[in-house]
């Protein structure tokens, strides 16, 4: 099983390095999904028999991340769709893609994507599921942006990644939250702990996160807008991603988590509202599209909304309807996409206002598309009819909401039927324009896959019972009642049949009455500023602007502002703590008495500091600095630190010499800042000085036991054979410091040397 899942990834790597330019070699990759399809099909009997097949592989036990795969009905349904439609898409793509030199990379991405999808649907570990979830986002990023030279294509890819990936991060939070609460990432275990999860205080948060992930992925309103953009991808990609795989990942997740998180009103109503609204909105939107792919995109969004709605209803009937509709939709939508691709490939247009009469040059395509459209509309003897039936069945058994929901679904279904007709009939009906007359007929490898899909739609339409075992297994996996009767074509005359009829006829009437026209599109475009897409793009733009403003404010290029910020930050933190520590009185008795020479030195030092601060002469400032240094040196002498005094003195003198040498050719100080700024700076500085003083003072008050310096005082001579204890510390007790210290000096000298000697001219290349 692991191999089955990972084979896609392995092949992805393999395809990267083996070019497949020559003729028939292009079709070799199709054996990958095909063999996987066969592999998964072999498990069909067990799965439909109600078994759950488990495979466990240890990966990162430290984090509870294990490659646990579970093949149950739901996983099986999706696996079959992924590999089955995958096979067709592979074959189709091999024939479709014109740029042969890149085709191996295309298959690489596609295989990666397929593997990710398989992993997603098979994982029993939520974290692993998430990993594959993100992988689908990434691999679809590459697929959507396949036409790298077009800016629109690149933008759509980034947008798709941003939305689905962003949702992904939220989903991750949700997964981790579920894991934390349920103390496992195993879906099985979480299902068992379902009650705990639902009662937990963060259940709402959990739902928010999970919905964020699922809705972005499955293009629910208001996150739907990435999907039409993603149509910039090559058609095989659209067909694959938007019929059976990528967008269905969200659906899968909701399905999968229904038994874990579902059943609560919040879950159900959110899904119903979001799904319902998306359904209505998208199906309405599809009315106004003139681009074939646009129609398909919006009808896909609508279909996804419908499925979400069904999952939200949360009854066995609705699960059943959803499961069937997923399959129905996959079959007809993939077929329609593939047909669209053929048209695009042949006549280089997808404009519905221009396309017509194409049946004359591509009859098989027309038939396939037609059947798909019929299935989409739910004409009897197509699989779509069964689907519609079950949908109405489900909505009508929702108790209080039955009428509203059914009405909603009815309206939407009519619109969707229309979309199906438009996509499946319009390009083929009517007269063939001159321009298309001598178009070459598409090859078998192009029309074969959609035709096969159409045939399958018909097949299941005639024999719905064949799909029953699998569909029932799906329902039971989602937590519905497993004991369901087989699907039947004929339920007798009832309300549902009537509704189906209304749908079909209504859609057809609409199709006859409405002609796609650019004017309608332009009409809709007027509402564009109010759309979710505009909202999000505007939001992004706003964030960018804010960030730009903010960054400019912070990172303004003025060093002193940076330092003021840093010091202020430090001060805020320190003051917060120090307020509590302000001493009531100061005890001078324990302090060293003040002598005259101390005072003189201090007075001199303080004055020198002020001279240094306010002088306008550079030389005076350096001399003042020297005086400060020399005063410190004298203080060191007074307080018993001759070594320090010597060093301080030498260094100060050398620093002064350095300054002299450097300052020679520098301009004089200028008064550059105004008084207000100076006062502000002075206040901050004064507070800083005060805070440091206070800390120093507080530390002085604390009793300390200096055992270590006592040790040095006692043992410097006996153990280290030196009488100058400071020096003994420097070369022996703490000799390592000194070794490093001279290293610092070495580096500084090297630096000075290189900086002054190495001058790379601006013409020189780096």
């Amino acid at each position: 099983m692991l191999i089955a899942v990972l084979s896609g990834i392995l092949f992805a790597l393999l395809f990267l390095f083996f070019r497949l330019q020559n003729g028939w070699l292009r079709f070799i990759p199709a054996f990958l999904p095909l063999s996987l399809l066969i592999y998964f099909s072999t498990w069909l009997p067990e799965v439909t028999g109600g078994q759950e097949i488990l495979f466990k592989y240890s990966w990162i036990p430290a984090m509870g991340v294990n490659l646990d795969f579970k093949l149950d009905g739901l996983a099986m349904l999706f696996s079959l769709m992924i590999t089955g439609i995958g096979t067709l898409v592979y074959i189709y793509a091999a024939a479709y893609l014109s740029d042969r030199s890149q085709i191996h990379k295309f298959f690489s991405c596609l295989s990666l994507f397929m593997a990710a999808m398989l992993g997603l649907v098979l994982s029993d570990n939520l974290l692993v599921l998430f990993i594959f979830w993100e992988l689908t986002s990434i691999s679809s990023f590459f697929l959507i942006g396949w036409n790298t030279k077009e800016e629109a294509s690149r933008k759509s890819a980034v947008l798709a990644l941003a939305i689905t990936g962003g949702g992904g991060f939220l989903l991750l939070a949700g997964v981790l939250l579920m894991g934390n609460v349920g103390s496992s990432y195993s879906i099985q275990a979480l299902t068992a702990a379902s009650a705990t999860l639902k009662q937990h205080s963060s259940y709402v948060l959990m739902l928010c996160f999970v919905f964020a992930g699922a809705f972005t992925k499955s293009a629910m309103f208001p996150f739907h807008f990435w999907l039409p953009g993603a149509m910039k991808a090559p058609t095989p990609v659209s067909a694959y991603l938007h019929s059976a795989t990528m967008v269905k990942a969200g659906i899968y997740l909701l399905f999968r988590l229904s038994p874990v998180l579902g059943g609560e009103p919040l879950w159900n109503y959110t899904l119903m509202i979001v799904g319902g609204f998306t359904l209505l909105y998208a199906s309405f939107q599809s009315l106004f599209r003139t681009d074939l792919k646009g129609v398909l995109a919006y009808s896909t969004i609508a279909a996804l909304g419908l499925i979400v709605l069904l999952i939200g209803i949360g009854t066995t009937e609705s699960f059943l309807a959803a499961a069937v509709f997923i399959l129905v939709h996959a079959l007809y939508k993939a077929a329609l996409f593939l047909c669209t691709g053929i048209i695009d490939h042949a006549v280089h247009s997808r404009d519905l206002t221009k396309l017509s009469g194409l049946r004359k040059i591509m009859m098989p395509v027309a038939i396939a598309a037609g059947i798909a459209a019929l299935s989409s509309a739910g004409i009897p003897f197509t699989f779509g009819f069964i689907g519609k039936d079950l949908i109405y069945e489900a909505t009508m058994h929702t108790g209080m909401l039955a009428i509203q929901l059914t009405g909603l679904v009815l309206v939407a279904n009519i619109l969707l039927s229309y979309a199906g007709y438009i996509a499946g009939f319009r390009p083929f009906a009517g007269a063939l324009p001159e321009a298309y007359a001598d178009t070459a007929k598409p090859g078998f490898l192009l029309w074969g896959p959609p035709a096969l899909l159409a045939v399958l739609s018909l097949f299941f339409g005639f024999f719905p019972a064949l799909s029953s075992p699998l569909v029932n297994a799906v329902v039971s996996a989602a937590g519905g009642n497993p004991a369901l009767p087989d699907l039947k074509l004929w339920h007798g005359f009832n309300l549902i049949l009537l509704l189906s009829g209304v749908t079909v006829v209504g859609g057809f009437l609409l199709y006859l009455l409405r002609k796609p026209a650019d004017s309608q599109l332009q009409f809709m475009d007027r509402f564009e500023p109010f759309s979710a897409r505009s909202f999000f793009l505007g939001l992004a733009e706003g964030i960018k602007k804010i960030s730009h403003y903010f960054t400019c404010k912070l990172q303004n290029g003025y060093l002193r502002n940076y330092m003021i910020t840093i010091i202020s930050f430090l001060l805020i933190l320190l003051c917060w703590k120090l307020v509590k520590l302000i001493p009531n009185s100061i005890d001078f008795s324990t302090m060293t008495p003040v002598s005259m020479y101390d005072v003189v030195i201090l007075v001199m030092m303080v004055s020198a500091i002020f001279v240094l601060m306010f002088t306008s002469s550079r030389l005076t400032s350096i001399i003042s600095l020297s005086i400060v240094g020399y005063s410190i040196c004298l203080l060191f002498v007074f307080y018993g630190a001759p070594d320090l005094a010597m060093t301080q003195f030498t260094i100060d003198t050398l620093t002064a010499v350095l300054f002299m040498l450097i300052l020679l050719k520098l301009p004089p100080f200028l008064t550059l800042t105004n008084k207000a700024i100076k006062i502000r700076d002075a206040i901050i500085s004064a507070i800083f000085g005060g805070v440091i003083s206070m800390i120093a003072f507080l530390v002085l008050q604390e009793p300390t036991h200096k055992t270590i310096s006592r040790f040095y005082a006692d043992n410097a001579y006996s153990l280290a054979k030196g009488k100058n204890v400071v020096n003994v510390i420097l070369v022996d007790f703490r000799g390592s410091d000194t070794l490093i210290e001279i290293t610092v000096l070495t580096i500084a000298a090297l630096g000075v040397y290189s900086m002054l000697k190495l001058k790379i001219s601006s013409s020189e290349k780096e």
Binding site: D643, L654, G722, K723, I742, L745, A749, Y753, L756
Partner: protein, 136 residues
Amino acid sequence: MNSIILRTASNYLLPMLILFSVFVLLRGHYEPGGGFVGGLVAAIAFVLHSFAHGLKETRRFLRIHPGVFIPIGLSLSLISAVVPMFAGQSLMTGLWFNEPVPVIGLIGSALFFELGVYFVVFGVTLSMLFTITESV
């Protein structure tokens, strides 16, 4: 700087300062001083010389680039720090000869370490100042 008085003064101050620097270096373990101040004083001797005679003359007088003292001193310190490790002891462990030597006193790894410091400080200070003087 073209002053005869300074030039002459630096001629006799140079040996005095160097002598003094060695004095400071050797007694550091017993009284204030040590390799660091010693090195600085020695460097200052040459800085003074360069002020009086000009950099070219000082360079000629010194013969080798002062920067050469840096790696030599660093190696010396490093070696005196590392040698104890060959005896299986920690870095920087003091090793001492048993008998004291006249003038200097006990000789130990610490002295070589200080000598290294002396060289490094000398080389660093001088090469820095020379480089800067040249580029001014």
